[in-house]
């Protein structure tokens, strides 16, 4: 059982996860940012490994990825940082990024190194379910890494059940079919979708992400799910002031209310 499973066993409501792009705003900031987030009360973290062509991301995360690559961030650099990070930070860490850097690194080597440096789960939006199931599932399992799947308002019930069967930490519920950085849609249709998934009584906890940016949207998401993820809003915050480490506590308080 990894740190994610332990977390979900002990805490079932109002879980807050924060996403940030490794290498942004500058290189060697991952450890400091993660430490500040843990201290401020984040329950788990998603660390983005940057990619040149992030199709599922909006302008904020695109720009942070570009900047991170220019700063020299690579998987090797990130894994070195995470080794240090694990000496100081105990909350679960998820890596988020795209297929191609992982494939070039070697999927087995990626899983092995990630596990060694204390990573608990991976989100790869463009890794298809078929390939995961047939090529990579056993490797992920061998190293105790959770693969986290996304679900959108358009995902069929049958497919959600299948995803639930393949998941072993949580399911990432998208607030709408959109790229990152939009605003939370709380139309009746979306509430209907949250309600629909909630009443399916899935085995895995649900965490809502995309468009969660403040206390209002976080609280709304927590009505339907076990927690929510803030991404673009935090990345935007990191880019907004030079002394960003000082204000992280306040940022998290603002989200949690």
């Amino acid at each position: 059982m990894n740190r994610l499973n332990q977390l979900f066993q002990t805490k079932k409501e109002n879980l807050l996860s924060i996403y940030f792009t490794a290498g942004y705003p500058s290189l060697n900031t991952t450890v400091d940012i993660a430490e500040a987030l843990e201290k401020a009360g984040a329950d788990f973290l998603e660390v983005g490994f940057p990619y040149s062509d992030p199709v599922a991301d909006g302008p904020t995360i695109q720009d942070s990825s570009q900047q991170a690559l220019e700063n020299g961030m690579t998987l090797n650099v990130l894994f070195e940082e995470l080794k240090e990070l694990r000496k100081l930070v105990t909350i679960p860490i998820i890596l988020m990024g795209y297929c191609n850097p992982m494939v070039q690194y070697g999927v087995e080597r990626f899983c092995k190194t990630a596990a060694e440096v204390g990573v608990d789960g991976v989100i790869v939006p463009d890794l298809p379910m078929y390939e995961y199931e047939n090529l990579y599932k056993d490797t992920f399992a061998k190293y105790g890494l959770s693969n986290i799947f996304l679900v959108t308002p358009q995902t069929s019930e049958e497919r959600i059940r299948k995803i639930d069967g393949l998941s072993n930490s949580f399911i990432y519920l998208l607030s709408s079919s959109s790229i990152t950085g939009g605003s939370l849609n709380v139309s009746d249709a979306v509430e209907g979708y949250y309600q629909r998934v909630k009443t399916m009584e899935l085995n895995n906890p649900l965490i809502i992400g995309f468009g969660i940016s403040d206390n209002k949207t976080f609280s709304k998401a927590c009505e339907y799910a076990n927690g929510a993820i803030v991404g673009s809003a935090f990345v935007k915050y990191l880019g907004s002031r030079a002394d960003y480490l000082e204000g992280i506590g306040e940022f998290i308080q603002g989200i949690k209310g």
């Binding site: 690559l69 795209y98 079919s177 790229i179």
Partner: protein
């Protein structure tokens, strides 16, 4: 077909559908429906009628006599340049707009590099009265101004892609992001044999009309259906796939695919994907792409915007790996010289993309009675500025 796609959407090691979950329903809908739709009698009738009356097919297979003399063989040019809108791109655009209509889609998006696919898409949207949004890299918008104006005149909205390197790959990223945000009413008309399955297969089928006609026409010209060589340029690879399609199983036919070497394969300014690339994942499929050791996509370069792409379609990656087709490359200069030569020996100004295929003739050795078919994928009108600048007319 021996070189065809399997049920999971793979050509050997390449293909698949590496897409975020947000695109799964759209792509799955296509996968489930496209074969039924395109094999339907009503679809076929409308497709064939439009290709004939609107595009002007069959495109001629022209025996280029003076050109043949120069190279000491029989050279036949498949005249896709004579199609309405000036390139092979219209074949696929017609097929996909009819498909979109039958899927009940109300809005079309597309990416474009040189603007040829954007113009073809804007054209078929005007024909059907469907809203059209074309994503185009900010840099390409500047270097292909006439095609931008053409798209606007045809009623399309042209949206600049301002992310990354601001060229074709970024336009493709933006189109995918648009599709993610508009999953229900929008169809994405991809312009080449790239993208998640079923796109590479579907686009190849729409373009396969090129080789289907060629076989018949060659028989009429030479008494034989099969030539010794079939050649085409490769950006994403749609004109080449269309040109190769019905020859794939005829193992005696040598297939030659010509990539853009830009300023030279080792110059750091090149788009010679098979020479410089490695296996990986780009725009929804497992294929060969130009990338750094860390798996970041490398920005390609070619004087021809249509070949300025860091990947190739997955079926090409497969044909390359198993050596069914030979992948070679031609520099900017060689292609411009070939364009000039065709202009002055045959009175045909080719697109710079197509001129890459022509230029490779210089590097080949022929027997006197070899029959060689080259896909002349487009006309050179859009490239006049570039030719004029280079030759100083």
């Amino acid at each position: 077909m021996k070189y065809g796609v399997n049920e999971q959407g793979y050509y050997g090691d390449f293909g698949g559908a590496y897409i975020p979950e947000m695109l799964y329903p759209n792509v799955e809908e296509l996968r489930q429906q496209y074969l039924n739709i395109i094999n339907d009698a009503d679809f076929k009738a409308e497709f064939n009628q439009l290709l004939k009356d609107y595009v002007g097919r069959p495109s001629p297979l022209y025996h280029a006599k003076r050109y043949s003399e120069k190279y000491g063989c029989n050279i036949f040019l498949k005249r896709e340049d004579l199609n309405h809108t000036g390139s092979h791109k219209i074949n696929n655009a017609i097929g996909q707009i009819l498909l979109a209509e039958r899927l009940g889609k109300k809005r079309i998006i597309a990416e474009t590099g040189a603007g040829q696919h954007g113009v073809a898409t804007a054209t078929v949207c005007a024909l059907k009265g469907i809203e059209c949004v074309v994503y185009m890299g900010e840099i390409d918008i500047q270097r292909q101004a006439p095609n931008v104006a053409r798209m606007k005149m045809l009623g399309a909205t042209v949206v600049p892609a301002t992310s990354g390197s601001k060229t074709l790959k970024d336009a493709t990223n933006e189109a995918m992001r648009d599709w993610i945000a508009n999953p229900v009413d929008t169809h994405y008309i991809i312009g080449s044999v790239v993208g998640p399955y079923p796109y590479p297969e579907m686009v190849a089928q729409f373009q396969s009309i090129i080789s289907q006609e060629t076989k018949k026409q060659l028989l009429a010209h030479t008494g034989k259906e099969l030539p010794e060589y079939v050649m085409a340029c490769v950006g994403g690879g749609s004109n080449a796939m269309g040109m190769f399609y019905h020859f794939l199983d005829d193992e005696g036919v040598k297939l030659i695919a010509v990539e853009a070497a830009g300023k030279g394969v080792d110059s750091g300014h090149s788009a010679a994907t098979t020479a410089l690339g490695k296996e990986g994942v780009l725009h929804g499929s497992r294929t060969i792409l130009m990338q750094t050791e860390d798996g970041q996509v490398v920005e390609p370069y070619s004087i021809s915007a249509g070949l300025d792409y860091p990947g190739i379609g997955p079926q090409h990656a497969h044909l390359h790996k198993i050596n069914r087709a030979k992948y070679v490359s031609i520099t900017d200069e060689e292609s411009l010289q070939a364009g000039l030569l065709l202009s002055q020996t045959e009175g045909i100004i080719p697109a710079i993309e197509s001129a890459h295929a022509l230029a490779y003739l210089e590097k080949m050795q022929f027997q006197k009675d070899d029959n060689v078919v080259i896909c002349l994928s487009g006309r050179g009108d859009k490239d006049l500025d570039t030719y004029i600048k280079y030759f100083g007319y």
